[in-house]
Symmetry: C2
Subunit: 227 residues, 2 copies
């Protein structure tokens, strides 16, 4: 069972990783603002994603991804999404941190919070007033991030090197959440677009393309493989 | 060579890990607000710590710690600071995230920023005006965090289980930065204090106890092993 949030980049990264490894998990959408006692008993940090199965509770995108690599990925040979080489693994983890910490803190979290969470959160469960300054800052920041990612896409086969890795999944997860909302300025970003089209065409990505958040439909090109 | 910042928890965690594994590294204090071109060329994310040696650049506390485990820790047998068991490793990584992301974002960063960075940053390099609200929030938040850590210390031998691990190092790094500033309310936290005294007494910790930030001396008990 995976506790997740539909447009949270870290949750999406684990959903993609599970799908790449053909591991089915029941998905449970958790509304953190409800502060459900049963959920807080599992994860007192009140963060997502959380993977729960018969024997284990694994908390957080990094710990879940590393656990899945250790218990499943190591057996996947050429389908493994972590390199066997420590230096390559470090480069991959750097970009995972970039996608799910830096990009999250400077772009994704603000945009998802302003455009989605504030729309669905009940009036008594948190601040619902829009913060147009946060949204404006995030929309400025995204350009610098995409410039860097475009440079990586132009100089490497995949983001962390020659082979597809969990770095591609983490970065595509963040971008897909923003793309759902039409917040990715794709114009003149040919290499980045080609990299994203490659990831988006994978069978594992299908489940993400079927996502629908109530009251917030995706933009038309969200599902388009030839966007 | 380790680019670090003296009172940044993530930098301290890598310094401790290197010392536990008897790995000497030249330390370079990096002032991120200077935005040095040479440093940004190494790490465009402009974050610390960064480990550089002849062949590699490893960026970020998680990637560096995992890299050191893979290349050095795996050979250390009973001195290894990562468990061999995937579930134990996940629990350890959860607490490392707690120390260096959650506790950092809710407590450590605010206190170090308000009490240290703003004091040493030049007037033209960033906002120096004190934010007493941030400081007050951090001083409230720390109590909830210490309650949880105290509960862990009371119910386990070490934070992530029976053996000392990188989770203890990461949590002690955050606490030591706050303790330098006299910001840890130790009263009535007997189990937590005993756990911290055990870590603090290790030879690896000596280098941290010698830290001095210019213009911001540590409180008297900072170096005291029997505090």
């Amino acid at each position: 069972m995976l506790y997740h949030s539909t447009l949270q980049a870290s949750s999406r990264a684990i959903r993609l990783l599970l799908a790449e490894y053909d591991l089915e998990q029941k998905l449970v959408e958790e509304h953190l603002w409800e502060r459900r006692a049963e959920f807080l008993a599992i994860n007192p940090a009140a963060t997502l994603p959380v993977l729960v199965d018969a024997q284990t509770v694994i908390i957080g995108v990094g710990p879940i991804a590393e656990y899945l690599d250790e218990t499943e990925g190591a057996l996947k040979r050429e389908r493994r999404l972590y390199s066997e080489d420590p230096i390559q693994r470090a480069e991959m983890r750097r970009l995972v941190d970039w996608a799910l910490v830096k990009f999250e803190n400077e772009v994704t979290r603000y945009i998802v919070n302003e455009r989605v969470t504030k729309r669905i959160i009940p009036a008594d469960a948190g601040n619902r007033s829009p913060d147009s300054q946060a949204l404006r800052a995030a929309r400025t920041n995204i350009k610098y991030h995409l410039d860097y990612l475009g440079w990586l896409a132009a100089t490497r086969n995949w983001m962390a090197g020659d082979r597809m890795s969990f770095a591609d999944i983490a970065l595509a997860s963040a971008i897909s959440a923003l793309d759902y909302l039409g917040e990715v300025p794709w114009e003149e970003r040919q290499e980045l677009r080609e990299w994203y089209a490659r990831i988006k065409s994978r069978p594992a990505f299908r489940t993400l393309l079927q996502d629908r958040v109530r009251g917030v439909p995706p933009v038309a090109h969200y599902v388009d493989l030839d966007f």
